[in-house]
């Protein structure tokens, strides 16, 4: 029996029960895994931690859409800082939300299916852009809020944070996408 794949804007932008649950799950995963790795700080001027968990908003965005990515990045980062006891830093929450949102825009091309190399590469490209834009937003916001100089925001925050997130995200994202694809096939949904 042939299965018709849904390809409509509602699949990308709609928010139903599925999206709500994946938003919550993704945020909990991102917050929980970030908390584990928040103690590993990268030598830099700002609050930059080594964070393999960055793959979570990238993955949830790419598979479940931009709104899910936005929520997972933003609330997940808030959750991670919350349980670490570091407080709330809204510009970094928004920055992380942007990472997931932009990674989620890959769905406009891939419709959330990553069963071929082309779609995985598209997800990687959107993920990379998302990391640079999201971290850039947070780092450049610190020029205004913390009165950092432009060079400090770049060398001290943008480069170490975006560099670490790019390496972590771009290595782990395809692994997760392939594993997710295999799992969905096994459960008859691939």
């Amino acid at each position: 029996m042939a299965v018709t794949e849904e390809r409509s804007p509602a699949k990308v932008w709609g928010i139903g029960v599925r999206q709500i649950v994946y938003m919550a799950l993704g945020a909990a995963l991102y917050g929980g895994l970030s908390w584990v790795t928040n103690v590993i700080q990268i030598p830099s001027a700002g609050n930059v931690s080594f964070r393999p968990a960055i793959v979570i908003p990238l993955f949830f965005g790419a598979v479940f859409g931009p709104w899910v990515g936005l929520f997972v990045g933003g609330i997940g980062n808030l959750l991670g800082d919350y349980i670490s006891g570091y407080g709330v830093y809204w510009n970094w929450d928004i920055g992380n939300g942007l990472i997931g949102f932009i990674a989620g825009l890959a769905m406009l091309n891939t419709w959330g299916r990553y069963n071929n190399t082309r779609n995985i590469i598209i997800a990687e490209v959107f993920a990379a852009v998302g990391v640079v834009v999201g971290i850039g937003f947070a780092a450049y916001n610190d020029i205004w809020i913390s009165k950092l100089s432009f060079i400090t925001a770049n060398i001290g925050e943008l480069v170490p944070a975006a560099g670490s997130d790019l390496i972590n995200g771009l290595i782990l994202l395809p692994i997760l996408l392939v594993a997710y694809n295999a799992a969905m096939r096994r459960y008859g949904r691939g």
Partner: protein
């Protein structure tokens, strides 16, 4: 013990934190920032947090803030002062240092200048960041996670999103448990997360046996929750909440004062662009007393 913002809701503390950041960003006047800092310290003191509860976080914040201020000074070769008139800098001393140049090799010897203005700016910057920390740290220590969803609802978020916030806090223990179980299972197979070998790329790729089972297992397991919620017609009608948070008078006063303060400072900042002297220009100067100038 007075817990100003958490007895009923944490909206006041979030609003205060958000607008404090935006207000403090508009000036580098030492006296304004000092006033805000003292206000933040007073606010923090109302939470009644003990040093033993928060010392780990404070060590981190002190280290981070010091690094931020010092790195910023050195990376900018002392040209740190922003947002204020700096036509006549009062130089105290300078030390040999390196700075950036437009042509190869891009690094040239340059003196690192220490002036009254730049040192005042560093102190102001430190006070600003500590002020933000004094407002940010009490939130996780004094807010009941069970009230997070309803508090977000109170801040104007739609029901669906507020419920998702609530749900993410409920997922957290099971996610942590899954992570622990997976870690133990992988350790039993000889995987040691703290002894990963190889280069940075190899180490990250080797984290996959930890990350993949937790994420994929959770995503697959979430299908049951989705089905259960759909069977109960989640999201079909207007949602009601078991807990209702009522802002107290003190919460309303804090929110009103925060908004008034923010708009007053913003207005003063805008007006300051049209005046070069006097009170209306006060946010555009550092406010260093004359007797401190050499």
């Amino acid at each position: 013990m007075i817990r100003l913002y958490t007895g009923s809701t944490h909206e006041p503390s979030c609003l205060l934190l958000f607008l404090f950041g935006l207000t403090a960003a508009q000036t580098s006047n030492f006296w304004f920032i000092l006033t805000g800092f003292l206000g933040a310290v007073f606010y923090y003191s109302l939470a009644g947090l003990k040093w033993s509860e928060t010392k780990r976080v404070w060590y981190f914040i002190i280290f981070l803030n010091t690094m931020l201020v010092v790195f910023n000074y050195f990376l900018s070769a002392g040209s740190v002062v922003q947002g204020v008139d700096l036509t006549h800098q009062h130089v105290l001393f300078s030390i040999p240092f390196i700075g950036l140049a437009n042509k190869l090799p891009f690094f040239v010897p340059k003196p690192l200048i220490f002036s009254v203005e730049s040192i005042t700016f560093m102190i102001t910057q430190g006070l600003r960041n500590f002020g933000i920390a004094f407002l940010a740290i009490p939130i996780p220590f004094t807010t009941n996670p069970g009230l997070m969803g309803i508090a977000f609802k109170g801040m104007g978020l739609p029901d669906k999103f507020a419920y998702a916030v609530d749900l993410s806090f409920r997922f957290l223990p099971s996610v942590t448990r899954d992570f622990g179980t997976t870690l133990d299972a992988q350790r039993a197979r000889g995987f040691e997360i703290d002894k990963l070998r190889g280069g940075i790329f190899s180490k990250i790729a080797k984290l996959a046996p930890m990350v993949v089972p937790v994420v994929i297992g959770s995503v697959v397991g979430a299908e049951d929750i989705i089905n259960a919620m759909e069977l109960r017609c989640f999201g079909m009608g207007k949602r009601s909440w078991l807990t209702i948070l009522h802002p107290r008078s003190v919460d309303r006063v804090v929110m009103t004062l925060t908004l008034v303060g923010f708009f007053a400072i913003t207005l003063l900042n805008i007006l300051g662009n049209f005046y070069s002297t006097g009170f209306l220009h006060v946010l555009h100067i550092q406010g260093i007393p004359q007797f401190l100038l050499p």
